[in-house]
Assembly symmetry: C2
Homo-oligomer: 384 residues x 2
């Protein structure tokens, strides 16, 4: 899937710091946050009219590193590498692509484990709650700093799709188009429930210590975070995909162990997912960002979904995946309906896929056909 | 739903102890277990031909207390009360109904927290792994002791359905009919994955201590067990049911709390499920019984599902529920097909229901129509 032909190659993560006191960002909760640092990467070149910029927005555990490699020794490229590069859907020969780590995150942007300049200590649970809208408000500073008046597109899957929707609603004049993928206008009760159990697993870890854990590996609430990740990972896959990939195959044994060691391939896979996750992600960030997803509710915020979209100017491409049960197609269709009632430019496609919610990171054939055609139409429509 | 008209009234749990050394039960793993105590309840009267006995078999966290009340002060009856009583589907005016707590359990039957007579200490993780087949083998001792040569029916939902299938296969001459409900011939990869995460939540609790925890409330790995239960509970409900029951309604507040306290009704509900569960269930039992479900795989055990059913004599009533995504209808249909290829007497019904897997404990109207008719046919067919 990750063919290096067209790769953006070696890239660096940069940072921007803004909202210095007394001009902090005022969050949806009413709390103030500043200074704020965003970690971000860019690929391609901003054209002279500054009209070719695309902002990519990441999901719960993503980061600014969408594409390319940080070092020659990197074995894995960025999280959406096949989407970004020369000749790829977000074509860096043509577009200037930007991605930043969300606030509340743990991969270079200001989050709960950052140092609170007012105290010289980590925020931990003193960090204010942030929302999807707050994440987008922070991204606007970055877009301003880069000199971009109007983004050609904001695109992302899952929580990235929530951010894309917020961009279109909050800053209608600054977004020519959005591509919300495998997303929703409000997290379902089931989605809230899964998030809650993940958070409970973290806070139940005695090393979590009210959020005030140390930084050494053995001081981290790693067990709780692993459980949260393993649980979430199940919801990112379809039953069909798990059946095809693992079924009930045993792991390096011919018969059941009749003990509590790993018996099945699927157990080994999930355990690996948990273990690799705790090396790259922070428990307090998981609490904050999952809560931001729980709070996302456009109908509540704007009275109705139809009202939410009344003022949008962007063209919309909504994508969903047939086997995604966490953000099912029906949620995308609700958005499509509300946009149509508002007579907006909206294109929708449910992509047939066995891969569940994770399909937005996998289904390259379909997305390589659909996304460039939409971007091309948006770029040539004079919207930008 | 639980109308007391027809209730079996006050009932008592009894016990039977058997498989005394050196005649222990030889488990599927090859390990020996004995003595074994089963906690059980009976309702109704065994007729003079001993031909009217129905064995009910429970799900993961069930117990022997299917129906009626243990004391006048009980606020809740047994777990399938609306199914058992005078004029109810398992009609105690007509049938002799038996239910026992499975081995590995924690509600009166021998399980990991029982005293190992060889050491005078609790088994904890020295308890041997038990399978669904082992649970059924233990039940056979009870059926023998009650003087029942041939059961009119074995019925149960979820893991109870697995036991019903094992009864028909292991003891073909001793079962006139079975009613496996919302079940499968082998747990799915997704089912194994959810069970694994639940177990990991328990073993991650520092109070779990390798299974050797104390008996006082503050010595129990209650947090881990609560997380396991909350997770499992989500899988027992459909998204549709959670949406209808809770949606995104806030819990006793008008606006978001912007902190990590409970915001949503669904969170409050799940938290309550976790808290009430830890008062009635044991963590080590949860490990053992969930593992028994993981191991259940009739095609593996018998070469194929068709082979598994080659020798069965029972009549089958398979029931599934349209919104059950943990034990979906397609799993019941596989069983139906394998039985039909073997030219067995099989009836199948997918009951339309919004309640997900838990529907087998809820859908009383449909089951009150279907189950008595099937039992009547079985009772009058001369099978018993």
């Amino acid at each position: 899937m990750n063919n290096d032909n067209g790769s953006v190659g070696l890239v660096q993560t940069k940072t921007l710091t803004f909202a210095h006191p007394p001009d902090e960002l005022i969050l949806e909760s009413g709390a103030r946050l500043g200074p704020i640092t965003l970690a971000y990467e860019t690929y391609g070149k901003l054209d002279s009219q500054r009209s070719n910029a695309i902002l990519l927005v990441h999901a719960l555990t993503g980061d600014a590193h969408v594409a390319g490699y940080h070092t020659h020794a990197d074995r894995k490229p960025g999280w959406w590498d096949w989407m970004v590069g020369s000749g790829r859907p977000f074509d860096t020969d043509r577009y200037f692509v930007v991605c930043s780590n969300v606030i509340g995150g743990c991969q270079g942007s200001t989050g709960p484990r950052s140092i609170n300049p007012a105290t010289g200590e980590r925020y931990n649970l003193d960090f204010p709650m942030v929302t999807i809208g707050d994440m987008v408000a922070a991204q606007r500073y970055l877009v301003d700093e880069l000199g971009i008046d109007r983004l050609l597109c904001v695109a992302g899957g899952s929580m990235g799709g929530m951010q894309a929707l917020e961009w279109a609603i909050r800053y209608p004049e600054r977004v020519a188009s959005v591509i919300p993928i495998a997303t929703t206008s409000r997290l379902s009760a089931q989605g809230i429930a899964f998030n809650q159990v993940g958070r409970r697993a973290i806070t139940a870890d005695n090393k979590w210590n009210g959020g005030n854990y140390g930084v050494k590996p053995d001081e981290l609430p790693a067990e709780g975070l692993a459980v949260a990740r393993m649980l979430a990972h199940i919801t990112y896959l379809s039953e069909e995909a798990m059946h095809a990939k693992f079924g009930r195959r045993l792991r390096e044994k011919e018969r059941y162990g009749f003990d509590f060691s790993i018996d099945f391939e699927v157990e080994s896979y999930l355990q690996h997912q948990g273990e690799s996750f705790i090396r790259r992600f922070d428990a307090d960030s998981y609490l904050y960002i999952s809560k931001a997803m729980d709070y996302f509710d456009l109908p509540r915020q704007y009275g109705s979904l139809q009202n939410a979209f009344a003022g949008v100017q962007a063209g919309f491409l909504l994508l969903s995946f047939s086997s995604d049960w966490l953000f099912p197609t029906v949620h995308s269709k609700e958005i499509v309906r509300a946009l149509m009632v508002n007579r907006k430019d909206v294109t929708f496609c449910e992509i047939p896929s066995p891969y569940g919610h994770d399909a937005f990171l996998i289904e390259n054939e379909a997305m390589k056909r659909i996304v460039p055609a939409f971007l091309n139409r948006m770029a040539s429509s004079g919207r930008h």
